[in-house]
C-alpha cells in the first residue's frame, strides 16, 4: 500500500504516488565540518554535492520526475521542455538554501511539486522552509515532506504549508492521518490559517 498522504480540497487520504524521485549517486568526498561563517553555518556537517554527482545523476527519460535542486539548477536547459510540460518537480534537503531555487526560477509555480527531504525527525528546519515557500515565495502547488516523516510531525507540517507527506515506510500512513487534526483551534497564525486565534474568534472582553 502507498505511504503517501495527500490533502486535496481539505480532505486527507492515502494516495498513489505519480512522481518518481531522482536521487544523487553516492559520493566519496569526506565530510567537512566548519562553522562561524555566514554561509558555512547553513552547511555545517553536510556533504557538499560534487559536479560528478550532478553529471552522473540518472533522470528517467519519460514520466513525472522530482529531481534534486542541484541537478535542477545545473542541468536546467536539458530539462526545459519537460519543465514546460509540468513533468518536473524539485526536491531539496533541509540544509539547502531556498535562494538557490528562487534565483533560478523567479516564479516557482511552474513547478507542480516541491519536495523537502528531512533526514531526522528532530530537524525542524523543514517547517521554516515550508513557511517561506508559501509566504515569501508564494508557492501554490503541491508541497511534500519525505524522509524521517512520522505522524507526530504531521500537524506541524500541515500548518507550515505542506500538503502531502510520505510516511516512513515502516509505519502506516492510514494510522498517521488522524494526527493531522490533533488540535482544532491553534493559537497562532501560520501558513494554513494566517490569523491568530484572537482574530478568528471573539474571546470576550
Amino acid at each position: 500500500m502507498s505511504n503517501l498522504i495527500k490533502i486535496d480540497n481539505g480532505i486527507a487520504s492515502v494516495a498513489n504516488d505519480e512522481w518518481a524521485l531522482v536521487q544523487l549517486p553516492a559520493t566519496q568526498i569526506e565530510e567537512r565540518k566548519q562553522a562561524g561563517k555566514v554561509v558555512l553555518f547553513k552547511l555545517t556537517g553536510e556533504n557538499p554535492i560534487t559536479a560528478e554527482q550532478i553529471a552522473d545523476t540518472v533522470i528517467p527519460a519519460t514520466g513525472k520526475v522530482i529531481v534534486p535542486l542541484s541537478v535542477f539548477t545545473a542541468r536546467n536547459s536539458e530539462l526545459a521542455s519537460r519543465i514546460a510540460q509540468g513533468e518536473v518537480g524539485v526536491w531539496l534537503s533541509t540544509h539547502e538554501l531556498l535562494e538557490n531555487l528562487t534565483q533560478q526560477l523567479p516564479d516557482l509555480n511552474v513547478l507542480p511539486i516541491i519536495s523537502v527531504f528531512v533526514e531526522r525527525f528532530a530537524d525542524g528546519r523543514i517547517f521554516s522552509l515550508g513557511t517561506l515557500l508559501r509566504t515569501r515565495y508564494n508557492y501554490k502547488n503541491e508541497l511534500r515532506a519525505f524522509g524521517d516523516v512520522l505522524r507526530d510531525q504531521l500537524f506541524f507540517l500541515k500548518r507550515s504549508g505542506f500538503t502531502s507527506y510520505i510516511i516512513r515506510k515502516d509505519r502506516s500512513a492510514q494510522d498517521a492521518i488522524a494526527s493531522l487534526n490533533d488540535f482544532s483551534k491553534p493559537y497562532q497564525g501560520a501558513v494554513d490559517e494566517p490569523r491568530p486565534v484572537f482574530k478568528r474568534y471573539n474571546r470576550g472582553v
Binding site: 562553522a35 556537517g45 525542524g124 517547517f127 513557511t131 509566504t135 506541524f156 494526527s179 488540535f183 497562532q188
Partner: protein
C-alpha cells in the same frame, strides 16, 4: 491571573489525548525509544536515574491556590508526597510512573495546567520577576504580554523542533529580577519618550556550558510587534543554528559566530517581510488578556500598623523574618512575603504535599488566593496586609516555611543534581545541605548579609552557578565528583559571570571553602558593603590566596 476560556481548555484537553496516545504507542512498541524521546520531552517528561521526572509548567510563575492544592494532591497520589520548584519557576515531580503520566496531565488540565513545552528543543515556559504587578519599581506589568507570548509559542508549528531549547524572559521593572540578559530572548518593557509601552530586546544570553551575557538587538520595539519580532529572531535561529553539535546549538553560539551586527541584519531583513502581519498584537487582545491581571480590590490602608510595629518590637524571631522575607508593595499598607523553601538541611526548592496545601490555605486567607514561584526556588504571597503579617508568619512557621534566610547565604539556588538528574556530573543537594549546616547560626548569616550562592551539578547550569556571587559547579574527574568554585557572578542590570578561583575541591572540602571565602569578605569589607561589591572592588586574588594557601598549610599540619 489568567483564566482559561473554552479555547484554552480545548487545547490542553486535546494535548492530553494526543500525549495519551503517544504513550500508548510507545508502550505498545509502535514508537522506539528514540522516537518517543522528543515527544515525551515536549511534555516535560525526562527519564531519570531512579524514575521519570515530570516538569509541570507554571507560566511566568503564577499559581492559584486551587492549582497548588491540586499539585499537592497529585504529588501525594502519583509521587512520594513532595515536589520540587525549579529555577525556571516550574514544579518537578521526581517519582511518577510513566504509565501514570497521561492521568497526571488529565488531572492538571482540570485546573488549567499542563506540562507543554517544559522541555525539549522548543520555546519553553516564559519567566519573569516574582514581584510582577506589585513591585514599587515596576514600570510595566508584563504578564499580559507574557500570556500572549505563551499562547503564541504553544505548539508553534514552525518552531516545534528548534536546534536547541529556547527560553524567553520578560521584565518591566527598573531593577531586573528576571535575569533577562541570560535568556535566549529577554524582553525589557519600558515607557518610551512619548510614554508608549516599548520593548528593549536582548538576544543570545545564556548560562550552560558557554555562559554569555545577551546583546541588545533592538533598543526600541513597539509592543504590538513582540510576536513578529520574536518570529524573525527564531526563524533565523531555526534555519541557521547548528544542529550537528548539541553543545553549540543554542542561539547564543549563532549570535556570537555571526556577531550581533550581522545577526541583527538578518533578523531585521526577515522582520521587514512579516512586520504588521496577522500576528501583530491588537489593542483589543492586550486589553482582553490584561484584565486578568488587574490589581486586586485593595483596601485603603494606612502606611503604619500599630499591631505590626508592636510585634516586630516584641518578637525578635518575627523581626528577623520581617527583615528577610517581607518585601515592599506598591499599594500602601500591603506587603509581599517570601515563604522560604530553603530550611537548613533540606533540598532547596522541595515542598511536601502538606506544605502545598498549607500554602494554598494561606493564599486564600491572606493573599487573594494567588501565589508565585520564584527562580530562586521559593514561593511568594504577593498581596498581604501589614496587619496580617504576624498571623501569617505564625502559620508559615508551623509549616516550616518561615526560615528567615531570603537573600542570605543559605537561600541557595540548587539544581536536583546527581541524586536525581541523569545529566549531572555530581551531586548538588548534599553540598547545599552541608553548607546550610555549616552556617546554621542565623545571627552570623544576617551579619554576612545579602549574598547569592548557586550550585549546579553539571555544565548545563540549571542552578545558575555562573551568576551566583559564589558559584559551585559539579565536575567529573576520572569518575569522581569534584566542585569548581567561581566568585563575582551576579544577576540583574549589572549582570556578570563569575571567575573560577582555581582547582576544584572534594565534596567534604566545600563547606570549609565557603567559610574561607566569607572570612576574607568579612575582613576586607567596608561598612555596609555586600559580598559581591567587595569581590568587585578587591578582585578574586585575596580570596584565591586565602582559600588555597590555607588548604596547603592544613595538609602540612596534618602531615606534621
Amino acid at each position: 491571573m489568567y483564566k482559561y476560556d473554552e479555547i484554552d481548555q480545548q487545547i490542553v484537553d486535546e494535548r492530553v489525548a494526543q500525549y495519551r496516545d503517544q504513550v500508548r504507542r510507545y508502550l505498545a512498541g509502535e514508537l522506539t525509544e528514540d522516537e518517543f524521546r522528543p515527544l515525551r520531552l515536549q511534555n516535560g517528561l525526562y527519564i531519570q536515574r531512579q524514575a521519570p521526572m515530570l516538569r509541570i509548567a507554571v507560566p511566568y510563575g503564577m499559581l492559584s491556590s486551587k492549582q497548588l492544592r491540586k499539585l499537592g494532591d497529585i504529588a501525594k497520589k502519583y509521587d512520594k508526597g513532595y515536589g520540587h520548584f525549579s529555577t525556571r519557576q516550574n514544579l518537578q515531580l521526581n517519582w511518577p510512573k510513566l504509565e501514570d503520566t497521561p492521568d497526571i496531565l488529565a488531572e492538571l488540565a482540570t485546573v488549567e495546567m499542563h506540562a507543554i513545552q517544559t522541555s525539549g528543543n522548543c520555546i519553553r515556559n516564559i519567566t519573569t520577576d516574582q514581584f510582577v504587578g506589585i513591585a514599587p519599581d515596576e514600570v510595566i506589568d508584563p504578564r499580559a504580554m507574557a500570556e500572549i507570548i505563551r499562547q503564541w509559542s504553544t505548539f508553534h508549528p514552525e518552531f516545534a523542533l528548534l536546534p536547541r531549547k529556547f527560553k524567553i524572559a520578560v521584565s518591566g521593572t527598573k531593577q531586573d529580577r528576571a535575569i533577562i540578559q541570560m535568556h535566549d530572548i529577554g524582553l525589557e518593557f519600558y515607557r518610551d519618550a512619548s510614554n508608549q509601552v516599548a520593548i528593549k530586546v536582548w538576544v543570545g544570553g545564556g548560562l550552560g556550558r558557554t555562559p554569555i551575557i545577551g546583546s541588545v538587538i533592538r533598543e526600541h520595539l513597539e509592543w504590538q510587534h513582540a510576536l513578529t519580532y520574536c518570529e524573525a529572531i527564531i526563524r533565523v535561529f531555526n534555519l541557521h543554528g547548528r544542529r550537528d553539535n548539541l553543545y553549540k546549538a543554542r542561539i547564543k553560539i549563532l549570535v556570537k559566530a555571526l556577531g550581533i551586527d550581522e545577526f541583527r541584519n538578518q533578523v531585521e531583513a526577515e522582520w521587514a517581510h512579516i512586520k504588521d502581519n496577522a500576528n501583530t498584537i491588537t489593542e483589543a487582545e492586550l486589553a482582553r488578556v490584561g484584565q486578568h491581571f488587574e490589581a486586586f480590590p485593595y483596601e485603603n490602608l494606612p502606611a503604619q500598623d500599630a499591631s505590626f510595629d508592636a510585634a516586630v518590637a516584641g518578637n525578635p524571631a518575627f523581626a528577623a523574618w520581617v527583615k528577610r522575607c517581607v518585601h515592599p508593595h506598591k499599594q500602601t499598607g500591603y506587603r509581599a512575603i517570601t515563604l522560604s523553601l530553603k530550611p537548613h538541611g533540606e533540598a532547596p526548592g522541595d515542598i511536601t504535599s502538606e506544605q502545598m496545601w498549607a500554602v494554598a490555605d494561606l493564599a486564600d486567607e491572606y493573599s487573594f488566593g494567588e501565589l508565585r514561584s520564584s527562580h530562586e526556588q521559593n514561593l511568594i504571597l504577593a498581596d498581604v496586609k501589614l496587619s496580617d503579617l504576624f498571623a501569617l508568619w505564625e502559620k508559615a512557621r508551623a509549616n516550616g516555611l518561615a526560615t528567615p534566610n531570603i537573600g542570605l547565604l543559605t537561600d541557595i539556588i540548587c539544581c536536583p543534581g546527581g541524586d536525581f538528574c541523569s545529566l549531572a556530573n555530581a551531586k548538588s543537594i548534599p553540598i547545599a545541605k552541608a553548607i546550610q549546616q555549616q552556617f546554621d547560626d542565623l545571627d552570623y548569616l544576617h551579619d554576612i548579609g545579602d549574598i547569592e550562592l548557586n550550585i549546579s551539578g553539571c555544565m548545563n547550569a540549571c542552578g545558575h552557578h555562573h551568576v551566583g556571587h559564589i558559584g559551585i559547579l559539579g565536575v567529573d574527574k576520572d569518575g569522581s565528583e569534584w566542585y569548581q568554585v567561581t566568585i563575582g557572578g551576579k544577576q540583574g542590570n549589572d549582570a556578570s559571570i563569575g571567575t573560577v578561583i582555581g582547582p576544584s575541591f572534594s565534596a567534604d572540602e566545600m563547606p570549609g571553602v565557603v567559610q574561607k571565602l566569607i572570612k576574607v569578605y568579612i575582613q576586607e569589607r567596608t561598612p555596609e558593603e555586600h559580598f559581591i561589591d567587595t569581590v568587585r572592588r578587591i578582585g578574586i586574588a585575596p580570596f584565591k590566596a586565602y582559600v588555597y594557601a590555607k588548604a596547603v598549610s592544613t595538609k602540612n599540619e596534618i602531615a606534621a
